[in-house]
Symmetry: C2
Subunit: 426 residues, 2 copies
């Protein structure tokens, strides 16, 4: 069985001048990968007919499935539909179902506006050589073109809107079922683990001979991110169940080799691991954040169902908030400063009392670019984790920009809490 | 003068299976764009020598500047350096400066570990046909290869590490100065404005005849994002100052056409606009967040210098936190529920009192997937903005997933606050 390769083409000048970060490709890649389609290239191009034509020419040489997103909006800078119509030699016709959907959508969004804007009605026009994929979440329909015949150089080209919510609905409801029905797909199995506390080089050293002895159909990849390292084993083959049986002992061996640094043996975020621990043990958590400004709270509450264990956060950016809500002593702030072991200790104690949770995290630091003092440079952070009986503190000296300092502090604090909980639950 | 085109090639399987979102390309594109280099394609490929070679072949046909990131790590899944060495016909040699940098770095990170791991020392090996670009922030040096001669089919190929912090340092310190010195660059000028409260179609309708009358060297692009629409005018030409003079009257005309929905006439985030307003008027802000779980606080504190106006947030996820810290009445929660006009009103009043700020935002809602009730489906949100004299409330009915519901609620709440402040400061 041959691999089925896919290329993703994202269209829009905003992706090229760096004004927008492409999150669509990651969603599409994950969805395709799960059904055994290998996305071997992703290409971002501008909103010009010539660039679209060139990309179609290049990618169809290398892939059987070509997915395009973006460039289908109602404005004049969107050129994709015309370019596709010309490329596949069709002419524009009104699609009745798409027209119906646009009218329905506009009645809902603008109930008091009888007249639908002409340019949105034009979104119901599609090339007569495509199959329309209905977009239940928006006004631009998906379009499917194909060349060749099944089992004989069969290639498909699918154009989807760039709005993530609409694109995601179309991928799940239309694209994935179509590909599963029309292509003979191999199996791909991924097994992912997350480690913390050691850098990529050290983890790689631990796994050095393990990696050398892997059979060629199993690959190991390292995905480092702020002191966390994701490890991913991937196996390719004919049958998913066989692959799962084959990869499992290697995965277990890998887990045992990184045991002391293992956070989870699933493909999940650190905040989800912490959440699972808390649910299992029926414990609650609160946070007192200064420098991270609510980012730890956001990480925790991004997990569905987090209200079961997450009480809340006091984001105490000002001295007054630290004193008034968390009961940090004015003298502590004056004598030791907001970024000190003494202050985070009092923040943690205050949060335990105010939020009435089993555990708390407290952080205070200087994220930059301003705010440093001679003895406390940018990147100085104090963290504390505590329960009613014990408090642990730790200092970080980070060397990144504001955004990265916030992210790394949140990751370190969540991992510190995870270890704290684990120690106490043995 | 011809346009100087660039292609960005990002290397790593994690980008293809959707495990990592590519933020590097956006950074590089912004930096190149600023000096007049047009990034016309971005390609993401896997970590295989064949894919790297193929991408170099394809992109060099279309671009004079090819920037590669990723695949330079110390682990066996990183193939970029060998592939480049072979492509440009060199052999591997130790670079003394890079070796020195690796030793220095490891002494700092692992002061107690005398022995530097062999695989990191190997990162100092580079092809003898490249110019080394020193990486002050990490262990993998940048590499520059070139073909042709200046003003005669001159092309450069630059390979950078994939770690964002290291890549960013190399782009700023090495790559940009090199390109400015060695290429004859055209000028590009962007002018960006942000609107709120109307969808892309309506804004496009307002700008319809304006857009038709634009000269061909000025282009208009629409970048919609959750009820906010960015509008970008781009002009190309020979000289930056001439372009700026030329684009300005068009930009002013555009601003006047969308005047009622204009948030800012700069390329900045909504939270930065709110911050600027507060600094100008010497006012402070606090937040009381339930459903957004700290995300509004994070948006506000992501702006450098926000401690000048941001006091803090009470992230009151539980009933208890709402009652105890914000003084929401138990009866209010029982009678109307946590997601109600009554509750957000009391949250806002409580936050004003607790945080002692001039303004507050309060939000409570159901972000999904769980938590809905028959009369309050997922996506029901109540928001309030207030000062000492006035309170305004508003209900949202969102239809997205958890993450998008959180993001859109934060954007709407920040814009509601912005309008509230503007009304009061006239």
């Amino acid at each position: 069985m041959n691999n089925v390769n896919a290329s993703i083409i994202t269209i829009g000048d905003e992706l090229l001048i760096g004004q927008t970060i492409d999150t669509n490709s990651a969603f599409i890649a994950r969805a395709l990968n799960e059904i055994g389609v290998w996305v071997h290239r992703r290409v971002a191009i501008g909103d010009q007919a010539a660039a679209i034509t060139k990309a179609l020419d290049t990618e169809k040489e290398m892939a059987s499935i070509i997915i395009l997103t973006g460039g289908l909006g109602p404005t004049a800078d969107d050129k994709t539909k015309d370019a596709l119509c010309q490329y596949f030699g069709g002419k524009m016709v009104i699609n009745k179902d798409a027209l119906q959907q646009i009218k329905k959508l506009f009645e809902k969004v603008y109930p008091n506006q009888q007249q639908i804007i002409e340019r949105n009605l034009q979104q119901a026009e599609v090339p007569d050589v495509c199959t329309v994929l209905p977009n239940k979440r928006g006004s631009a329909p998906g379009m499917l073109f194909s060349t060749g015949e099944k089992n004989k150089d069969f290639k498909i080209f699918i154009s989807l809107p760039g709005v993530p919510y609409e694109m995601e609905g179309l991928i799940t409801d239309e694209v994935i079922p179509y590909i599963q029905k029309n292509f003979d797909l191999p199996a791909i199995v991924h097994k992912t683990a997350l480690t913390a506390g050691k850098g990529e080089s050290i983890i790689a050293e631990m796994l050095s001979s393990f990696e050398k002895d892997l059979p060629k159909e199993i690959q190991l990849a390292y995905l480092p991110n702020y002191g966390l390292v994701k490890l991913r084993l991937t196996a390719f083959g004919h049958d998913k169940q066989t692959l799962e049986n084959k990869i499992e002992p290697y995965f277990q061996k890998m887990l045992s080799l990184v045991h002391d640094n293992l956070v989870t043996d699933k493909d999940e975020e650190l905040a989800a691991v912490v959440g699972r621990l808390l649910i299992e043990k029926n414990k609650t958590i609160g946070t007192a954040e200064s420098c991270t400004g609510g980012y730890i709270a956001h990480q925790l509450t991004a997990i569905p169902g987090s209200s079961a264990y997450y009480a809340g956060s006091v984001v105490s950016y000002s001295y007054e908030a630290k004193e008034k809500i968390l009961g940090v002593h004015h003298e502590t702030l004056l004598n030791f400063g907001a970024v000190s072991e003494e202050t985070v200790t009092e923040m943690a104690r205050g949060a335990l009392k105010t939020l009435e949770t089993d555990y708390v995290i407290a952080v205070s630091g200087i994220m930059g670019p301003g705010g440093s003092t001679p003895d406390k440079p940018v990147g100085t952070v104090w963290m504390a984790v505590a329960d009613a009986n014990t408090i642990q503190t730790r200092q970080l000296n980070l060397r990144f920009n504001r955004q990265k300092n916030i992210e790394i502090t949140a990751a370190r604090a969540l991992n510190m809490l995870r270890l704290f909980i684990c120690e106490r639950l043995v």
